[in-house]
């Protein structure tokens, strides 16, 4: 068996074909998943919408940036509206959003897809996961996410995996010319679209090389990488411009010949001409980029290569640490990366451990790790309509009783007696007891003259049918340096009298 010698040698091309099939799976999966939604979307052909979405992104992304989500969604909405015209535009927008989000695979950490495959390595069958993306979110010039179709997605569209771009192109041209000649405009329309996509693929590879050169000119080999693509793409453009002009002439003749009743045919031809115009525009853009490529490359070379070498060399973080770390497996890179983090960050004050916190932490049910994907639900707040426990009149009564505490103080039992004068069923006594309990812990301002009241336990027990405990003594105190009290008291007789009485007993 030859399969035994190579590293993951795939003699039958099974892995390649499995990968090609896997890429189609997310698209087909939409059709299966639509039934599991709690919405009646059965009438929509989800695969068609998905291909429309991939089409829209592929055609709208240009040399520099990706397609806007809204632009791609608009195309899908249009097709959705054709499929289900009796449904509202809101539902069409929902469907389009769902299709696009599913193709991005929102909700997964990496926003991609995975499919298992296997190859024979060293005589043994090994399984591997194949990771791929269909639509990838990339940053636009304004920092907002844009969409780019990945190579895999374009492959699904064109219907062939790992095709030779150039030969496909020649075939497509011949096909397009033949179709137009035979007057099969609908087919010609489709073929023109395919040709346009291939032009975009050339643009993609050129963009990639230039971007790499901009970062590091040594990473690109001009003669092999860029020069080759440049020559090939220039030839391609030249041929395309000739071909498209010829087709255009052909089309104009067809339109002129078409009888007045053939309105549909005329419309088709007009649409085809529009696509060809788009093709020409793309070719011009690609040609301009190609012509600039040499200049960009030389400029970067001058900027990057001919700088003076450093006088004294230390560690070069990018070249000596980052670049090698990227080649390591995630598991092996963990140690050195963690070491770098700890040492670059410096020492940290360890958090002081509080035992009850540790216990609570150990007992807590582990929370789902936040991925940032969760929908933030706005809490629905209602006005608090609870009845207050005590009525305003009861508060007033309790306040009045406490304000009436004489300078010498009063027993809680006496105050409770006053509170119960209103009669049975009224629980002003409970309110008063609560307020006095509060005074026991901290003196508080009570009473009209702004004096401070305080409750003290002198050992006497409370003899009361409702409450038990100490029969505390409630008495006014004067807080030294209390500006409020001083200002309000203003040297009036009661204030002074209370101060005199209070200071003797409780000097804070």
């Amino acid at each position: 068996m030859e399969a035994a010698e190579g590293e993951g040698h795939d003699e039958l091309g099974l892995a390649t074909r499995i990968k090609a099939l896997a890429v189609a799976d997310p698209v087909l999966d939409l059709e299966r998943r639509k039934r599991t939604l709690d919405k009646d979307w059965r009438g929509y052909q989800m695969e068609e919408l998905a291909l429309t979405a991939i089409d829209a992104v592929t055609l709208k992304m240009d040399l520099e940036e990706g397609a806007r989500f809204s632009d791609a969604a608009a195309d899908v909405v249009r097709v959705a509206a054709v499929q289900m015209p009796d449904r509202g535009p809101d539902e069409h927008a929902d469907v389009a959003g769902w299709v696009l989000n599913s193709l991005i695979n929102i909700g997964t950490v990496d926003r991609g897809f995975q499919h298992p495959y296997g190859t024979v390595v060293g005589g043994r069958y090994n399984r591997f996961p194949f990771d791929f993306k269909l639509l990838r979110e990339v940053p636009g010039p304004d920092g907002e996410p844009r969409l780019r179709a990945e190579t895999e997605a374009i492959a699904v569209l064109v219907g062939a995996v790992e095709v030779d771009i150039a030969s496909e192109q020649v075939a497509a041209e011949a096909k397009l010319a033949a179709l137009v000649k035979r007057g099969r405009l609908a087919d010609a329309h489709r073929a023109a679209h395919a040709a346009l996509r291939r032009t975009i693929q050339y643009g993609e590879s050129l963009r990639h090389f230039l971007e790499t050169a901009r970062r590091d000119v040594r990473a690109v080999d001009w003669s092999r990488d860029l020069g080759g693509v440049q020559r090939e793409a220039l030839d391609h453009i030249e041929e395309r411009i000739h071909a498209e002009n010829a087709i255009r002439d052909n089309l104009v003749r067809i339109m002129d010949d078409a009888a007045a009743e053939e309105a549909g045919r005329r419309r088709q031809a007009t649409g085809l001409i529009a696509i060809l115009d788009e093709c020409l525009k793309r070719h011009m853009a690609l040609q301009a980029a190609l012509q600039k490529a040499g200049a960009v490359f030389r400029e970067e070379q001058a900027r990057q290569t001919f700088t003076a070498p450093a006088a004294r060399l230390q560690v070069e973080v990018f070249g000596q640490l980052l670049a090698p770390a990227l080649t390591l497996p995630v598991a092996a890179a963990g140690g050195p990366l963690a070491g770098f983090f700890t040492e670059a960050r410096g020492p940290e004050k360890p958090a002081v451990v509080y035992l009850p916190d540790v216990l609570a932490g150990l007992m807590r049910i582990p929370a789902e790790q936040a991925t940032g994907e969760e929908t933030v639900t706005e809490p629905d707040l209602e006005d608090d309509d609870d009845e207050p426990r005590f009525a305003a009149g009861q508060y007033a009564a309790a306040h009045r009783i406490l304000a009436g505490v004489p300078a010498g103080g009063a027993r809680l039992s006496g105050l409770l007696g006053e509170a119960r004068q209103a009669g049975p069923g009224d629980d002003t006594d409970l309110l008063l007891a609560l307020q006095v309990t509060r005074l026991f812990a901290t003196p508080a301002r009570a009473g009209a003259a702004g004096s401070m009241l305080r409750a003290d336990d002198d050992g006497q027990a409370l003899d009361d049918p409702r409450f038990a405990g100490a029969d505390v003594l409630v008495h006014p105190v004067q807080v030294p340096g209390d500006d409020n009290g001083g200002a309000e008291g203003g040297g009036e007789a009661p204030g002074l009298a209370w101060a005199g009485a209070g200071s003797g007993e409780t000097a804070p």
Binding site: F69, I104, I106, V109, D110, R111, P116, T119, F128, P129, F130, D131, R136, E137, V138, G143, H208, E211, T212, R215, D216, V217, R218, A219, W222, R224, F297, A310, R312, L313, Q314, V315, E316, V317, F318, G319, Q320, L322, L326, T327, L328, V330, A332, G334, P336, L337, A338, F340, F341, T342, E343, A344, R345, G346, P347, E348, T371, G372, E373, E374
Partner: protein, 258 residues
């Protein structure tokens, strides 16, 4: 002055090492202690001894940055990776972001050496640079025809650059918020963490967040982190000589450019 007072002062200087936000020019006491360390060799020895007792190394004492301490591996003062990034799937990316921030802040070896150099980084640029390096590795892998998928059930064996490229660089959640587990979200998290700990200074919100480096960060990377990681990598059998961001593959592309 008594020995006990010396020990108190030395410990105070070490304690300042835990307050990266405080610098000698801001505080008279810190300034005096720094000055004394630089003048008085005996006092410097006491400071070193006090730090050693805590499992720390005095990397530098500098009039502008103050005392810069390096944690040894055993010390309880070493920052915990698990506390910084509890999610294990995000962890390699955040740690890589820390390295990439240092790499972009000091693009040339000379920048790391030059005490007056102030580096500037932006979240978007860090992502772009790492993406470019990863793309290049991806292209080489494609050329050599290697599949590179890790064996099923052992996701940890995937190369770090594949792991990086797999995550989207930006993203939006279903309800239109920016995704904080995207690559740029994680880089931002690392940069904010460094800024909170006095290693970076926030400059502006441009390009996803722009930061400048502090002297302390430069010293920490130069004297400890970079050299230590170089040794770690050498231990794994990877040694790259200095001289270029990505090692050159082919000699002189320049001759063919014309």
């Amino acid at each position: 002055m008594s020995t006990l007072d010396d020990i108190t002062d030395a410990s105070r200087l070490v304690a300042f090492g835990f307050r990266p936000g405080t610098r000698p020019p801001q505080l008279a006491e810190y300034r005096d202690l720094t000055g004394r360390y630089l003048r008085d060799a005996g006092f410097a020895q006491v400071v070193h001894a006090a730090a050693r007792g805590l499992g720390l190394t005095v990397i530098a004492v500098e009039p502008r940055a103050g005392i810069v301490l390096g944690p040894s591996l055993e010390t309880p003062f070493a920052a915990s990776v698990a506390d910084h990034v509890p999610n294990t799937r995000d962890r390699p990316l955040v740690l890589l972001a820390h390295l990439a921030i240092a790499a972009l802040a000091f693009p040339r070896a000379a920048d790391l050496d030059d005490g007056t150099y102030v580096g500037r980084i932006a979240v978007d640029k860090v992502d772009e640079a790492v993406t470019a390096a990863a793309d290049e590795l991806s292209r080489r892998a494609a050329e050599s025809g290697e599949a590179g998928d890790p064996p099923a059930g052992q996701p940890d064996l995937v190369a770090l650059w594949r792991y990086y490229l797999r995550r989207n660089s930006v993203g939006q959640t279903g309800d239109g918020r920016a995704l904080f587990t995207s690559r740029r979200g994680l880089i931002k998290r690392a940069a904010e963490y460094l800024a909170d700990n006095g290693m970076l200074r926030r400059v502006s919100g441009d390009a996803g967040g722009t930061y400048s480096t502090t002297i302390r960060y430069q010293i920490q990377v130069r004297e400890l982190a970079a050299t230590q990681m170089l040794a770690d990598l050498a231990g794994l059998g990877i040694a790259v000589p200095g001289g270029g961001p990505v090692p050159p593959r082919q000699p002189g592309p320049g001759e063919n450019a014309a």
